[in-house]
Amino acid sequence: MPAHFGHLLKKAMKTFSQVNREKATGMLDFELKELENIFALLILGGFVGLPSPPSPIAVELLPYMEKELTVLLARTDLSQDPLGVLMGMLEID
């Protein structure tokens, strides 16, 4: 029983710590995401009509951009809907 309680307490503290860690960095994460968006646009902007970097560079970078491509597609989908993200992050109530 005490071991079970100790385990439970440890788990609760771990959760508390994770909540705090994420709370302490949520807004910075958001800014990082914005920077990633800009980076993805600079590299993959050709898809949306922005001038691309020279093709050899773009092709060379492409294999490293797999994750960015996935994120870009998700972001394209969510870009028309920014209110929810902001409200989830800014503490208004």
Binding site: T15, F16, Q18, V19, N20, R21, E22, K23, A24, T25, G26, M27, L28, F30, E31, K33, E36, K67, T70, V71, A74, R75, D77, L78, Q80, D81, P82, L83, G84, V85, L86, M87, G88, M89, L90, E91, I92, D93
Partner: protein
């Protein structure tokens, strides 16, 4: 008695969580058979990340519990402690928690998109646009209502101002330690906590006695600066550190309420159906409990903001849809418990703290003194002077956080809404999209209204806008249930949705007819007339949008019925 009320609240919330909440989850949503959650299906390690429900609960609760669930109940005791308490309990379990839960679940089924998107898809583009406008008005009214509340609290207790200033400095130093030094989050947090204690001590040592007008000016400058500064400098570490106030306040308040045996005799259980509650200072009008209660108690029972919070980040991170019950429904119930504590503190300890002046004291100082008295009586190792300072800084910090984050959001909205001007009028677009200009516009209108209106007028306007947003969400969710889920259970959403819509619409019409004309009694008072005109127009515009929205809803509902 306080123990009994706290236990009854816990029993009701737990019973409804396990019975009603589970029925909604298993019969209405059928979450166990739901498709895989977007956090797994669309997992990208960035936006969509499967997260433990306990962690999400922590995030969600911290985002929804601010100064709102404290302010409304502290005002509502004018009707007596029982009507407010009943609205908090019943409103919470049948409206607020269902609203938050279903908004979160709908967002999960829509791949994590916001409830605004869901409304646009189910009710039409007008509903989506209505959301944008409601939110912009809400931002202005939040700045106005909270601006007055904070200025009043700062003027009432001279220790709070420097305690808050040093708290902000503590946040900047802690932020530096956390993000820019090798100390990391743990040591940074510890430094922050030590500095908070120091901030309290310094605030106590350096009391100032400035007028409310001076504080309005200070708040104006603060929110413009704080909402335009880089987030990592002040906003992020301050929000992080302020969450410790919430934990501490809830823990000591909860323990005190549960172990106390004090009777709830500071105020009667019921005073009158039409207590003088809403109106300009000095001209409060008799406000009938129905329909005006949602204009007073917002966040503790129901809040439209929560739907936006729920569908922002939480829905993208829910590991499984069934976790939405714990995160959405559960967090709202805990917020209801916070509001219950506010009523218990005032009804049980208000007289001991403030004597005959209890009901003539403004809502926030009323809560601050009563809460401190409750904690000190039951946990005597926490002295009264510390607890009053703590409670005042707690509420003021939350209100100030709300102020500058709202101003930041309002700034984004002004910039966004200026977009159509880009080609038609590039000069005007450049002007409105400037972050300082956009920020000053919201702050100026908000603080102007706060100075000339007062929270007894502005809080109900803000609360009404908030509840109107909630009713739009409830109607959206009703269409969702009917169209995409189980029409058999549509009544469980439709009945509260219609009740809420009728109540809030009636309340806002009452506000427009009874409260706004009071500003025009003496036309020589220019500021009062301008305030009445601005608040009246905002409320009127929201009512028009509300009726446009409801006509779209009815059209959609009819089409669906025919299709079915």
């Amino acid at each position: 008695m306080t123990t009994l009320i706290a236990l009854v609240a816990l029993a009701i919330y737990l019973a409804f969580y396990f019975i009603y909440g589970r029925v909604i989850r298993d019969k209405l949503l059928k979450s166990k058979e739901a498709p895989e959650a977007p956090s797994k299906r669309l997992s990208d390690g960035v936006d969509y990340v499967p997260t433990s429900k306990y962690v999400l609960f922590g995030h969600h609760f911290a985002s929804i519990a601010g100064a709102g669930p404290i302010t409304g109940p502290a005002m509502a005791v004018a009707w007596g402690w029982l009507p407010g308490l009943l609205w908090i309990w019943l409103g919470n379990i049948f409206l607020g928690a269902i609203h938050d839960y279903l908004a979160l679940a709908a967002s999960v089924r829509y791949d994590g998109r916001s409830v605004q998107f869901v409304a646009q898809d189910l009710i039409g583009k007008k509903a989506g646009k209505t959301f944008g406008w409601f939110t912009l008005f809400l931002c202005i009214l939040v700045v106005a209502a909270f601006g007055d509340i904070v200025a009043g609290q700062l003027a009432a207790d001279g220790r709070v101002f420097f305690a808050f200033v040093f708290f902000c400095i503590a946040a900047v130093i802690a932020g530096f330690a956390m993000y820019r030094s090798k100390l990391g989050l743990g040591w940074g947090s510890l430094i922050g906590l030590v500095l908070i204690i120091l901030a309290f001590w310094l605030g106590d040592m350096l009391p100032v006695k400035w007028s409310k007008d001076t504080y309005f000016l200070i708040i104006f400058v603060y929110i413009v600066l704080a909402s335009t500064l880089p987030v990592n400098l002040l906003l992020q570490p301050r929000d992080y550190l302020s969450s410790f106030f919430l934990y501490f306040g809830l823990i000591v308040g909860g323990i005190s309420a549960l172990i106390s045996v004090a009777p709830l005799n500071s105020i009667p259980a019921f005073t009158t159906f039409s207590a003088k509650l809403i109106g300009p200072a000095g001209a409060l009008q008799p406000s009938p409990f129905w329909p005006t209660v949602p204009l007073i108690i917002a966040c503790g029972a129901l809040s439209g903001f929560h739907a936006l919070v729920a569908s922002g980040t939480s829905s993208k991170q829910l590991r499984e849809e069934k976790d939405a019950l714990f995160v959405g429904y559960g967090a709202m119930l805990v917020e209801g418990f916070l509001s219950t504590l506010v009523i218990i503190a005032i009804a049980g300890f208000g007289a001991a703290a403030l004597g005959d002046k209890l009901m003539s004291t403004a809502a926030i100082p009323r809560f601050v003194q009563s809460f401190a008295q409750m904690v000190t009586t039951n946990l005597p190792f926490l002295p009264m002077s510390f607890m009053t300072l703590f409670a005042a800084v707690w509420v003021s910090t939350f209100a100030l956080t709300t102020l500058d984050t709202t101003n930041r959001l309002g700034r984004y909205l002004v910039q966004e809404m200026a977009e159509p001007l880009k080609e038609k009028n590039p000069g005007a677009f450049k002007f409105f999209s400037n972050k300082w200009v956009a920020s000053i516009i919201i702050a100026f209108v908000g603080i102007f209204l706060a100075r000339s209106g007062g929270y007894t007028v502005l809080w109900p306007a803000f609360s009404g806008a908030n509840q109107l947003l909630a009713s739009v969400v409830m109607l959206t969710v009703a269409v969702w249930v009917k169209k995409k889920l189980n029409p058999k259970y549509v009544a469980s959403v439709m009945i509260p949705a219609v009740f809420l819509w009728v109540t809030v619409t009636a309340a806002l019409i009452w506000y427009e007819i009874v409260i706004i004309p009071v500003f025009f009694v003496d036309m020589a008072k220019t500021l009062s007339v301008i305030t009445g005109a601005v608040v009246g127009l905002i409320t009127l515009f929201m009512l028009i949008l509300n009726f446009i929205m409801i006509s779209s809803f009815l059209k959609n509902w009819k089409v669906n019925a025919q299709a079915a």
